[in-house]
């Protein structure tokens, strides 16, 4: 592959001049510049990024740490991340932790070694010390989807989990459901805790006693949702609705309900969380709380890039809204054929 020196020689100029010309900097005659560009094009010249990084002290690379890509939720977030990163002229080095703290540490070490210009954490739990450490070292850091205790300030993008869950619960109550179960994700995760808290608060505020047996855990996986729902139906057969902490689990929960021969929403209503693309495709289409997943990714990158460019950051903590999307898995009790109201698919 052609090097700067090759094209400089081919043009009969010095490397310095060629460099200036190629980078669009002033101090080169129009004629020389034209020539250099032409030759560079002909030789299919591309600057050697590592060499450039060495002198420029930047890599135009963003390190992203995400639990996994099989989950449709993270897939959407990463979609936003990728798209915004490309737009901002950054490259993505993607790493997945698979929920394994050692692997997370390993990935972070490599990202550090690569001298990523900034690091985006999309991990909902664990390894806080790593985040603080890398931040303390001077790396720009943005955390998406969780709050982190860090006085000097890692920037955060969070979502109104509590508010979204409150909307979901109010919707269920408005439809007439009273005996509402809850399938939690991973209990240790903040987002899960917020949703559970909202579930409890809303029921309590209506004078409904929340029983222990109404709450199960499904680990954010379809199989977990299936098992949690199966337990719920066995232990609390009189539930008339269930609020599931993510759509991906709701899929499994719906399967469990079906296997018991029950109808959705006539026998039992379901509300999910996230509004991943598949939520609009279930049968019936899933009523859920929309998180702006792509926007979360985008916003994370936008903030990280501001940090990298040392631009003024408007806010160190960005709260994105959630929104109830009513589809077919909830309906007025007593009039199963006419759901309260419907809304078209989002996309």
């Amino acid at each position: 592959m052609a090097r700067l020196e090759d094209i400089a020689r081919a043009c009969g100029v010095s490397k310095a001049t060629a460099s200036l010309a190629l980078n669009g900097k002033p101090g080169v005659s129009a004629e020389t510049r034209r020539l250099v560009l032409e030759v560079a094009k002909k030789l299919n010249y591309r600057p050697h990024a590592p060499a450039r990084s060495l002198v420029l002290h930047r890599t135009d690379t963003l390190g992203v740490i995400v639990p996994d890509l099989s989950s449709p939720f993270y897939a959407e977030v990463v979609r936003g991340v990728e798209d915004e990163a490309v737009q901002q002229g950054f490259f993505l080095v993607l790493t997945t932790t698979l929920g394994n703290p050692e692997r997370e540490e390993f990935c972070l070490r490599l990202l550090r070694e690569r001298r990523a210009d900034g690091i985006l954490f999309v991990t909902p739990r664990g390894n806080e010390h790593l985040i603080r450490e890398i931040h303390a070292e001077g790396f720009p850091v943005v955390v998406v989807d969780r709050e982190i205790q860090c006085e000097d300030g890692v920037v955060e993008v969070i979502v109104d989990n509590y508010g979204g869950a409150v909307q979901a619960m109010h919707h269920l109550l408005a439809c007439g459901y009273r005996r509402i179960g809850f399938i939690n994700g991973i209990p240790e995760i903040q987002a899960s805790q917020e949703r559970l808290r909202a579930y409890r608060d809303v029921l309590s505020s209506q004078g409904i006693r929340v029983r222990r047996s109404w709450v199960e855990v499904g680990w954010f996986l379809p199989e977990g949702g299936y098992q949690a729902m199966t337990r719920l139906l066995r232990v609390s057969p009189r539930l008339d609705a269930v609020f599931v902490a993510c759509d991906w689990m709701a899929l499994g929960a719906m399967r469990a309900i079906r296997e018991k021969g029950l109808r959705i929403p006539e026998d039992i209503a379901v509300v999910g969380f996230d509004d991943v693309p598949l939520a609009a495709q279930t049968d019936p289409p899933l009523t859920t709380v929309r998180q702006p997943m792509v926007e979360m990714g985008r916003m994370g990158v936008r903030l990280l890039v501001q940090l990298i460019r040392k631009e003024q950051i408007s806010q160190k903590k960005v709260l994105l809204p959630t929104e109830l999307v009513v589809r077919g898995t909830t309906a007025h009790v007593g009039s199963p054929e006419s759901p309260c109201f419907r809304q078209g698919n989002h996309g």
Copy 2:
């Protein structure tokens, strides 16, 4: 961040010695090595990867080009890619084309500039000239999920699309279905063409005339599957089964069937393709043809790494098998309550 020079100075040795010690090379006394390692650890030293790349002429980085991450199929493939890459000690620079040829070209240019050690294409169509060009330039290249005309040999990982589709069709016929529709993905894609060809061949071999109106296109998207199925039901209302070229589309097709008030599989059977994780979670669970998605990604990386290391490559074209997975969306015609046979979820 500490540089090699810093730790060398701190140890009172030269950079060369420090380098040898850190890289586990011979020619350093045990005592010195211990000291260097200790100081490096204390200073949290990590070598500067770009500087290293500059002299080593390698980046330990794999460039991956994939259409998008929203599709559960690609998400799974990338999962395999990521996992194997980490195991092999490589980093992933991930780029998505969004089906946009210019963006693909842009991504490839950047990957080239980054001096990725090798490039993995998971794009099912387009820009063949780019692949040939980058390969001609000396970059190791592996293509997953398509065959490319290239005598000198890009390495390919392909899947038995034709065989898998034949299995699916034979299964439908064995269940007693005769009027079988087909929803294709993107017609330009090789994999699609193979599946369509199998569909036609099997029906023809049974003396069944394939009507034009039995075949629709759904672009590998749920919404496309929904619309294709809707058209199919309108134009060919007497179909008793439909073979959908991917699970993701099948989801939309199933929704369309449900909306018409038809039952699956009693009124119309459905077979998908891929066996993405959600296939086991639909209602009923989807009968489909399993592609070894994770393995495709893994194998692609394994071959690419062999190419990079200039090891002997066993085969320039690896064909991975497909496998029918019978679940709940197909059943014997006439005995809807007892599907021919079932198989547990894959995971």
